[in-house]
Symmetry: C2
Subunit: 287 residues, 2 copies
């Protein structure tokens, strides 16, 4: 059986074009199985937290510890990743409840990230790149168009590409989407709003709807193994008011502090990534 | 004699208010002397580079290597840091040529950064904080007003502070300045333009002139000890066109690739930090 790092390299090759394919789905299935095999050799280590309504643990192999894993999202009985991939391929994903889709994607993403945390402890880039490929594939399947990387943003006598963010173009007269993907945001998140601003400036405000997709904002203190969610609410409001407007922020593990951002003006709509699959066709509808 | 780390802690305490004082100048003099003492115990290690017209070396103690130091800026006979500090305190700094001011500030900044590279090799934050304090003090002396940290940027029913950037307010009807300070920029630089955008949004475009102050953009390859300047020209042009407009970018060691940015439209005016001290009074004048 190939190991998870080999399959990850295969995923990168298959994802280069941005177009979704059955091979990518198969590769994600293989990575999920291989990640689970790595994690089967680990023991659970309970982490303490004061986040209301959430419990976390870490996988542990010989004292090496993975990132914090949400017990309920990862362990509760629910739809398996394979079923979500199949439903997406058949165009029937809305038959699965948003919460179940979210849990399946969380499981798939977190199994790989935790497996790499244990097998390559100093690596952060692999998990981020993997997560971007997963989101690119699932969103491309849902929208039915390929992901485009490196958007051309200059014009007239200049050419330049804006690197790293995904975009999806549903075609003439239909919405376009700007989809930055991050495993966590912290202080680097200002880049997301700034890229949205650039895209608004180049193509016109409202031409691309910004959908930020994140895994979680958990941070584990090294010594106390206390789990916190690092949230910068005031900064987010400032960015949304003065840099650009994101249409949605999706999380697999929604931080408690961000879940209330839609309740107060200026609203930032933070939802589970599972909800994206249900509202994808109507995102451009509201007034 | 106190060591350089103790004096650094004193500098942080003295700089907390943002107001320039003789004690801060004395502390900077002491830090320069103590840094030089550390560097006297190091040997020079020649670094190779293909940057036109520049030569670099590193300080080396028992195989521990400092960042790249520009031979000409650091070693050529010129005005000493002490003379620049005294001239600033007397309001006579424009009597010193811009190039000589730049060399003196480069020496002062680089001596400390290299000393910390050698004595605390995993520390990056100390050098950045020190450099910000140096720039805050010199600019505050030149403008004759204190540096303000943590600008209030929200209004009406919300309050929030934009952290880290320096601002200087010359008073009613006079210009205000937004002065982000970085030892090097790399991909994080988008934050600078995004902060300028926020300030433009809150206070009105043109109310604060943006002056980015940087040390250098040198990067030393670990194995080959080859020095490169990491420059992102296209990205800078995109940021300047679509996020906000910076009035100046000042470097102590101006990267070759950025020095030509003022020649082509859209212009970004990149100059030596020494030039700031000569043009400080006329920055707001042009049409």
């Amino acid at each position: 059986m190939p190991d998870v790092h080999e399959s990850y390299n295969a995923l990168r090759r298959l994802s280069a074009s941005g177009a979704p394919s059955e091979q990518i789905s198969d590769c994600l299935r293989a990575i999920y199985v291989e990640s689970t095999t790595v994690l089967d050799g680990a023991r659970d280590r309970e982490l303490n937290t004061s986040i209301t309504g959430k419990d976390y643990f870490a996988f542990d192999i010989a004292g090496k510890r993975s990132r914090a894993v949400n017990v309920d999202l990862f362990r509760a009985t629910s739809v398996e990743p394979d079923s979500v991939l199949r439903a997406l391929e058949r165009g029937e994903v809305t038959q699965i409840p948003a919460d179940a889709i979210n849990r399946a994607v969380y499981k798939m993403a977190m199994a790989f990230c935790a497996a790499i945390d244990l097998t390559r402890p100093n690596d952060r880039k692999t998990q981020g790149t993997y997560f971007e490929h997963v989101v690119a594939h699932l969103v491309a399947l849902r929208f039915g168009v390929p992901a485009v990387r490196n958007l051309d943003v200059l014009n007239l006598d200049m050419r330049a590409e804006l690197p790293t963010d995904l975009t999806f173009d549903l075609g003439r007269g239909k919405p376009k989407f700007h989809v930055p993907v991050k495993t966590s945001t912290r202080e680097r998140v200002i880049q997301v709003w700034a890229h949205q601003r650039i895209i608004d400036g180049v193509f016109g405000v409202g031409r691309f709807l910004g959908l930020l997709v994140c895994l979680a904002e958990t941070h584990v203190a090294e010594r106390t193994i206390h789990v916190q969610e690092i949230c910068l609410i005031d900064q987010w409001r400032i960015y949304q008011l003065f840099i650009a407007q994101l249409k949605r922020v999706y999380y697999l593990d929604v931080p408690v502090a961000y879940s209330n951002l839609a309740a107060e003006f200026p609203r930032i709509h933070v939802k589970t990534f599972g909800e994206f699959f249900h509202e994808a066709d109507t995102l451009a509808d509201d007034a």
